[in-house]
Amino acid sequence: MVEATTTQVEQSAAKPRPKRGPKGYSLRTLPGFTFVALFTMIVLYAPISILVIFSFNEGDSLAIWEGFSLQWYAKAAANEQVQEAAIRSLYLAFIASTIGTIAATMAALATTRTRRFTGKTMIYALINQPLMVPEIVTAVALLIVFAAIKVATGHNSMIYLIVAHTAFCIPFAYLPIRARLETMDNSLETAARDLYASAWQTFRMVTLPNMWPGIIAGMMLSFVISLDTVVITEFVKSAGQDTLPTYMLGQLRRVVTPEVNAISTVILFSGAILVALFFRLTQRKG
């Protein structure tokens, strides 16, 4: 990302601004493209905007505006099922992204800035494996395995959801951490070792502070991914273990009220804040 932006700047500095071609128009605009692009951007945001707007509707319609009100937020907040699902979602996302990020950090340290070693490609492929299989396939595979375990042990706690989410979080945490590590060279660590720092001291005082933004970014990304994951949760959960997304999926079978919009709006904005922070962390130069 960082490299791309610098070359971008250099290019545009070296080249004059979009010049008019021999036929009197800019070479950089193509007929109709700007129109389609702006139309696309509007279409990208219109459905979400309408959803957010009607979460503030006074009536129970999703299409007829009847005045401003916060009643659907109050209803959602007072709904015990929503409360439980929300707490469960946050709890799950927190544990899964924490364990996932720790495992991913260790794996990233092991697989970056190194020569080829036996099994490096295999570790890399394994870590990225959850990204390469459709979520529904992972979900039913887990259903099969966990059903057998549940029958054998009779154990029904949240542990199944926690391990499933953790495995799914690892590749998402790994990618930004690895990207961060790849921008760091070994010279600082070598200097620390030359000055008689122990391996652990070097890691604590040089490597870790330097890779910290990557770790936080990885943790936030995997947190968002865990919050959003609906298919895996739907197939792995036992009765009474709804998260916010699976609760909403269940609600869609009934008459939909702006309460769903209110919950959606909260999810949208909390996700957007985390993603914005993620971008800031990963795009900071140096």
């Binding site: 932006t5 971008q8 071609g21 036929k23 193509l30 493209f33 700007t34 129109f35 389609v36 692009a37 702006l38 139309f39 696309t40 951007m41 279409v43 990208l44 945001y45 459905p47 309408i50 959803l51 319609s61 999703l62 299409a63 260790m106 794996a107 340290l109 092991a110 697989t111 190194t114 070693f117 099994g119 570790i123 394994l126 390469m132 299989v133 459709p134 979520e135 529904i136 396939v137 992972t138 039913v140 595979a141 099969i144 391990v163 499933a164 953790t166 495995a167 799914f168 690892i170 968002v224 959003d228 609906v230 298919v231 197939f235 997304p245 999926l249 939909v256 959606s264 949208l268 957007a272």
Partner: protein, 310 residues
């Protein structure tokens, strides 16, 4: 052992390398074990399950059978026991494939001009536009699907507006159709098309376009004969990136397509729910995975060739 040979620096080095490799494996172990147990491993268990017999109330009986795989394509007639094509499955495969192609084409039609527009903005503004395209992609997929659902319902905003203006007298049934699925998937996967094409256009050397114009190419000719071939790798990458999740889509067709317009993912779910045929569900899952793998391998080949070309 090590002591007696330690003076040979070659072996010392080898030993250090081995120790380093061991340490790196140890560090990777937690991630590797978690994924082996709770992501990769279960896929292998599923291979076994696809060769078993369905249990009476879901789950499986531990008897070997090829019916799971056979039933993906053929079924036995209930009356005279003859084999015939499982038309219901074939039509779902076809729907999954054709809707994925339609989604890919639609995202390309809207995504290419969007990527072009963003890439030709001044550098400072590019990042803002790029950010605007990415934000919806990172926001909850279910929420975005719900947003589409509320829009195209019979009582939704689109129908309401059309009724008000008087273009239609009765609401258009858009929900629970193939159109709804294609529209929803186009909406949710559009950013996957924009980003790789943007990256390709950003690298495009505009002097080549200027050269084409100097040689009296029209704008359209320059686009078709110079620009398009140069950004083709980005277009192929974007197309595969959209095609893959479309083929495996589950949430969008479930919410927008309803119980009748099933796609591959919903057919799989059916076998683990009302269908009570886990071996068939496992076989279908493996088929879907294989299809996605083929697309992924093609993607890796396209993108690595692009890197090799510089």
């Amino acid at each position: 052992m090590a002591d007696t040979h330690a003076y040979r620096s070659g072996e010392l080095e080898q030993e250090a390398e081995l120790a380093d490799t061991r340490q790196r494996w140890l560090l990777s172990l937690p991630a590797v074990v978690i994924i082996m147990l709770f992501a990769a491993g279960p896929l292998l268990v599923m291979v076994v399950y696809s060769f078993l017999t369905p249990g009476d109330f879901g789950n499986v009986k531990w008897e070997f059978s090829l019916d799971g795989w056979k039933n993906t394509l053929v079924q036995r007639d209930i009356f005279d026991d003859t084999l015939m094509w499982a038309d219901a499955h074939l039509s779902i495969f076809w729907r999954s494939f054709s809707l994925s192609v339609i989604t890919t084409v639609l995202t390309l039609i809207f995504g290419l001009p969007t990527a072009w527009f963003i890439a030709t903005q001044p550098p400072g503004r590019r990042e803002i536009w790029l950010f605007l395209v990415t934000v919806p992609f990172w926001s909850n997929l279910l929420v975005r699907t719900i947003a589409i659902q509320e829009l195209i319902r019979n009582e939704g905003v689109i129908n309401l507006v059309l009724l008000k203006i008087g273009i239609i007298t009765e609401p258009i049934q858009m929900m629970f159709t193939d159109f709804a699925i294609a529209f929803g998937m186009t909406y949710v996967y559009l950013p996957l098309m924009v980003l790789p094409i943007y990256a390709a256009i950003e690298k495009l050397d505009f002097r080549l376009v200027e050269a084409a114009h100097d040689l009296y190419a029209s704008r359209m000719a320059a686009f078709w004969q110079v620009i398009l071939p140069l950004i083709k790798p980005g277009i192929i990458a974007g197309s595969i990136l959209v095609f893959i999740p479309s083929l495996g889509a589950y949430v969008t067709p479930r919410v927008l397509g309803g119980g009748k317009n099933l796609m591959f993912g919903n057919l799989i779910e059916l076998q683990f729910g009302a269908g009570r045929n886990w071996p068939l569900g496992a076989a279908l899952s493996l088929m879907l995975m294989a299809a996605v793998m083929v697309a992924l391998i093609y993607y890796v080949r396209v993108t690595s060739r692009e890197k090799a070309d510089g």
